[in-house]
């Protein structure tokens, strides 16, 4: 089992913002340049670029150069840790059961 190298690079961080999720939604249909993506948002090209960097760091997209343009493409394999419902619920139930135990045994000797 390998842990993520640094939490700043986590796909969860990449997903934890509505703009970035919207970008992923757009990229799930087709690859796009920064200019094409910027057209969909009420923000500057620089702001969009910042979001793309976070997505790229989280492994959810890849960015490659084509001439002077930068093309963003969805990287579906980067979603694996997020889509793993089994690990998600493993930790969910561990947390819940721990709460239950401390609660139910609170007043016990």
């Amino acid at each position: 089992m390998q842990l993520l190298p640094h939490k700043q690079n986590s796909p969860f961080r990449a997903l934890s913002d509505p703009t970035r999720r919207k970008i992923l939604e757009l990229l799930s249909r087709q690859e796009m340049t920064i200019a094409q993506l910027t057209d969909h948002f009420d923000m500057t090209r620089a702001a969009v670029k910042k979001h793309l960097t976070v997505l790229s760091d989280g492994g959810l997209i890849t960015i490659r150069a084509r001439g002077r343009e930068r093309i963003s493409t969805l990287a579906p394999e980067g979603f694996a840790p997020v889509l793993d419902w089994l690990s998600y619920f493993e930790s969910f139930w561990d947390d819940r059961l721990e709460s239950l135990k401390s609660l139910i045994e609170k007043d016990k000797p």
Binding site: L3, L15, D17, P18, F89, W93, D94, L100, I104, E105
Partner: protein, 139 residues
């Protein structure tokens, strides 16, 4: 394990009646899980709501409720889309307390759910941030 299920068991220093109440009574569920509108009763639908947000978080139908031995309900959360999983609780008397067994079966297959993740609504931001902060994400 490849059958997409989770099994856990814990030992609780409490009688079965008390444990049962924590699994079915709204006030007690609110303290460690989420709060349903009413007590979980066999054959009835249920929905659990966030204590702070008031949003519907988990819902399904109570398949079986045999006080104080066995509880089974279907379990869906919004990001799972239409996928329905099943949660089963078994209570066993043991010396000095109760052994509580949890089975969560029928979880969605990995990778089949890209659309679900992309459709996560704003309410999930905080939760995802919490997961991020735990940083114990196995890859």
């Amino acid at each position: 394990m490849t059958d997409n299920s989770i099994r856990k068991s814990i030992y609780l220093k409490a009688g079965k009646e008390e444990v049962w109440a924590f699994l079915t009574d709204p006030e007690k569920l609110a303290a460690w899980f989420h709060k349903p509108e009413k007590t979980l009763v066999e054959g009835e639908d249920y929905a659990m709501f966030g204590v702070e947000s008031g949003k519907r978080l988990i819902w399904g139908k109570v398949i079986a409720a045999k006080p104080c031995d066995y509880l089974e309900y279907t379990f869906t959360i919004a990001p799972m889309g239409e996928a329905v999983s099943t949660v089963k609780w078994t209570l066993e008397d043991v010396t000095g307390g109760t052994r509580l067994l949890l089975e969560h079966i029928g979880l969605p297959e990995d990778g089949a759910a890209l659309d679900l993740v992309l459709s996560l609504d704003k309410g999930w931001d905080g939760h995802l941030m919490k997961l991020r902060d735990s940083s114990q994400v196995a890859i």
